[in-house]
Symmetry: C2
Subunit: 216 residues, 2 copies
DNA sequence: CCTCCATCTTGACGTTGACTAGATGCGGTT
DNA sequence: AACCGCATCTAGTCAACGTCAAGATGGAGG
């Protein structure tokens, strides 16, 4: 979790109310501020100046820690991928059912969608393409973690389908990822709010495990 | 296609080089300009002022036709949904294979992905959520058209699976849409560029028809 | 105690979306 | 043919933005 006890002590010290020229842990404070703004006001309200104001520093302070707005967005996306990976791992561990493999897959899928619905602006940012600096190693590592959590629950299903070849296995991983990612994206885009789709309540993620295991 | 011969005549007349105070068809000119900017320079370069400059009018002119930036984006997304619907209809019509239903479904899916890959910024805009004005009826109608093209190719497959109930059928439609939409989004986000996914060439959209028809 | 330098502030510049007031000229009316 | 209403477009302005440059501050190591 990149926990820095010294920095945190200084940070909480400042949080207690003591204003000082040197913040102590401005970088983390700005990330927190950014996450809050993203959650409460959306992506358009997330500006370097707004984050600085929320952290109680001058408008140009963020530049020293993130270089540019892209840097701040990259830091936020990194945290987001880490949180997503945690959610997926947690859901997989808690999954319960008569078919454990299938239960873990479906539970992970639902967790993916739940994460997107709970953090729509953040989710969008994670997959916003050119807005992020993918040369930043920590971002790539966090994204790999999340991807790894997903492939881990697909692997047993793939084996039971007889998908031993690397290509076949990766095609299944990609199928599952596309499925949950597409559903998540449609959900937070409001595309699932069509009246004819809501006559039986809000749409739920169609389970993929049973489909993949049909006829096996 | 909302073809307005009179407006077009004036528009082309202006295009011929004659500068006049009244443009003649500024609205369409601004949409064209917006599409070009989106394609060549990306979403961040798409500003009201840039579109105005490309159309050769003053910086405040777009406001009279679109009200705000949101209005221009909405107009662009409307055109985009219409084009997507056309692409899907075309792909379905041209599809060819031993199983026509399956061929049409897979061809439509590939067309969806091809559209996204060919127009990444536009595709992102179409599903950008709060950036668009969904109270605009034309936008909703265009989106419904595209959605209708997709459900049309899913319906035969659903019937062959015995999905006669409305809920079951809609779940399948949603499954297919999630699949192609998620893959498209991952593709244009660069998430499919992972080295371990490209050892057998760039990933292709996993066919969904054979999966849905397995064991039928 | 003193110096170094990362950290933070202040001020400025160019660009943006949005608003206002005024100029223009097309299309319908007389 | 002359007129005029009004949609269309221009010009000017404002606050907010990202970014840069220059200076102030104060903690860490000698």
């Amino acid at each position: 979790m990149n926990f820095d006890a010294t920095a945190l002590r200084r940070y909480t010290h400042v949080m207690a109310g003591k204003d000082r020229y040197h913040h102590g842990d401005l970088r983390n404070a700005l990330v927190d501020a950014g996450l809050q703004i993203l959650e409460t006001e959306g992506i358009h309200a997330l500006t370097l100046r707004a984050a600085a104001a929320r952290a109680g520093v001058s408008h140009a302070a963020p530049a020293h820690h993130f270089g540019s707005l892209k840097g701040l967005l990259t830091a936020l996306a990194t945290v987001a991928f880490q949180r997503l990976a945690d959610c997926l791992a947690d859901a997989s561990a808690r999954a319960d059912g008569s078919d454990p493999d299938a239960a873990r897959l479906d539970a992970s899928g639902r967790a993916y969608v739940r994460f997107a619905r709970a953090n729509p602006a953040l989710f969008r940012l994670m997959f916003s393409g050119a807005d992020l600096d993918w040369t930043e190693p920590s971002l790539g590592a966090a994204a790999e973690d999340a991807w790894g959590q997903l492939t881990a629950v697909v692997a047993p299903i793939a084996l039971r389908r007889g998908a031993v070849a690397r290509d076949t296995r990766q095609a299944l991983e990609l199928l599952v990822w596309s499925h949950v990612h597409g559903f998540s994206h449609l959900a937070i885009s409001g595309q699932l709010a069509k009246p004819d789709l809501n006559q039986s309540g809000p749409p739920e993620l169609p389970g993929i495990a049973s489909l993949l295991l049909a006829g096996v």
